[in-house]
Amino acid sequence: MKRFLNKVGGFFKKQLPRIAKKVKTFTVQNTPRELIFFRIIKFRKSNRGRQAMIGYSFILIWIIGFLIFSLYPVFYSLYLSLFKVRLDGADIQMTFEAFNNFKAAFVLDPYFVEILLSYILNTIVNVPVVIVFALIIAMLINQDIKGKGFWRTVFFLPVIISSGPIIGELIDQGATTLPSIEDYGFVNLILDNIGSFLATPIQNLLETILLVLWFSGIQILILLAGLQKIDRSIYEASMIDGASPWESFWKITLPSIMPLISVSVIYTVVSMSVFSLNEVIIYIRTIMLGESTIGTLITGYGYSAALAWIYFFVMVGIILLFIGLLNIKSLNLKNVREMRRRRRSRI
């Protein structure tokens, strides 16, 4: 008996540290050197550790929000895109389809590819126009002109007003085309002389030029802020060295606001892509809200989630394309050679 009890006691004695370890997992420990939450998150009680803890407490609300409202929906929709989803009142019926939804978008769907292609072409044509106009306007406002406040008010107006229905109304009424462009045979001239592949986006651009320009409100602000940060004395120095305004634009202004141009390119692509009157968006929405039938694959939530993901990757692709184009200049051969030489000498 005694032996048996001893055995039991010994067993628990052996187990005790393990249990204690397990209990420790769920506690907050306050050792002299560290503050440990659940044994995983450790904050050293150094200055840096304390800073980290306070920093985390400031952005904690963002982390929670990100997990709930961004990360979870993103993964859930990625998961949905692999299924055929049918809503029966409150409950969902799902059948696993692997990548068939994605395949169907390119193979079965009669409209999607066409809409997507026209979106890509239009975006690629429109974004540089927006950026160039925004830059021109920002530089104009940055000049020494009379009535600065008035001009700023005018050019910033679109940000206030542009919203889905109103812009839609204006498109319906034809208020987004400048009448003077249509009056001349300019559009026809382009259509006659260039292949339709290129001419259609250009025609679209001319027809919706107002709409396109109305997208440049925030970009003007971004570039204007960048222009104002350039030191005036650099211009003066270059002028003394005999640079013309044209030269100083290319050698001083443009390089100094280059990062801001990248920012505004990203902003333009995103705002154009999530704009509620964008064709692709409308198409995805109609599919999402449309009744899903059993037989065909190209309806329902799962399919629309797949479309949204394809759309997202295309959008990222366009952004990367533009950023790549903007950075091509800095990657010229001389720099590469220089970098290689440096690396070799370091070794």
Partner: protein
């Protein structure tokens, strides 16, 4: 006045030179007058700048002018080809129609409620988050920052269905909470931009200010409340205004989350009314053509509050840009 005097002296000088038959000098004078010493101070340059400004300004103002003038037109005016810009009489009927149909004061009040509360919560949360990102170093900071920017790029269509289901599960649909909760947690409409604005701004405050406050015994939270926030008033105003305008104009998400409730954004309300109204009349009928003007009147009523707000806060919108870091470098 100064310019006139310059023109006057220019003419008198040239006349004097002509009398002396110094033609080369006259050429130089002309050149200096039109092109200036370095082109940017000549008359030609001024003409170029103002020409561009006026033509671009016309492009920007055209839709608004179009909307304003056409909303006053009677049916006869719309059909009449000769009436293009100025309506034959100031006709308030269209406005009256819309005003009564949507019960404008109530609709406006609802739209303001719908915009103000999410905008306020977005401002508060993005100030806190922006401060956290700007002033503290912690592990994984870069990763979290990139993720924050990524939330801006992800189109709402991707996250819409799961969010919709989540909201319906927790019965947030059809109430203001569907907008306030994400805004409080920094995930509101364009939340990433606002966090970036505050991030830029708080990074500019010198560290020594914070350190001296800490020497006097202030905690980090006290520094945030007593020093950083009072300094950030311009950023707070600009973030609130932007957020307000974006929530006010929002149609996509609110059309989904608030369907069937009393709370509707004003653009949606006008849209709804117009759709109901047009469906009564057959395609191509006279009454439908009249609708054009009514629609535009509705739109003018929608943006009018924004225009008034913009008019009074214009200074903050456009002049505080260099003080607040909207650039997001």
């Amino acid at each position: 006045m100064k310019r006139f005097r310059r023109i006057k002296t220019f003419f008198t000088d040239t006349v004097a030179l002509m009398k002396q038959k110094q033609y080369k000098e006259i050429g130089n004078k002309f050149k200096r007058f039109f092109v200036g010493m370095k082109f940017t101070d000549g008359l030609l340059y001024k003409i170029l700048i103002y020409g561009l400004l006026i033509s671009l300004g016309y492009i920007y103002l055209y839709p608004i002018l179009y909307m304003l003038t056409n909303s006053f037109m009677t049916m006869a005016d719309i059909i009449d080809v000769s009436v293009k810009w100025i309506p034959s009489s100031l006709n308030w009927e269209n406005y009256q129609l819309v005003w009564e149909a949507i019960n404008y004061p109530v609709a406006l009040k609802n739209a303001f409620i719908l915009a103000i509360f999410p905008a306020l919560s977005a401002t508060v949360s993005s100030a806190i988050i922006g401060y956290g990102f700007a002033r503290f170093n912690f592990p994984l900071k870069k990763l979290l920052f990139v993720l924050m920017i990524a939330t801006f790029i992800i189109p709402p269509q991707i996250t819409m269905l799961p969010t919709f289901r989540m909201y319906s599960k927790y019965e947030l649909l059809g109430s203001l909470k569907a907008f306030i909760y994400p805004a409080i947690l920094g995930q509101g409409l364009n939340g990433a931009i606002f966090i970036l604005i505050f991030y830029q701004f708080f990074r500019m405050i010198p560290k020594s200010l914070e350190e001296s406050a800490q020497l006097d015994g202030a905690s980090h939270f006290q520094v945030f409340l007593k020093i950083a926030i009072p300094l950030a008033v311009p950023s707070i105003i600009i973030v609130f205004l932007f957020s307000f305008v974006w929530y006010y104009n929002e149609t996509y998400l609110s059309g989904l989350f608030l369907r069937g409730s009393d709370l509707l954004t004003l653009p949606l309300r006008v849209d709804q009314y117009i759709n109901n109204y047009t469906s009564i009349y057959p395609e191509g009928s006279r009454a439908r053509e009249l609708m054009q003007a009514v629609k535009l009147a509705g739109n003018v009523l929608t943006i009018l509050p924004l225009l008034i707000i913009y008019f009074f806060t214009q200074k903050y919108f456009v002049e505080s840009i260099d003080r607040t870091g909207i650039t997001g470098e």
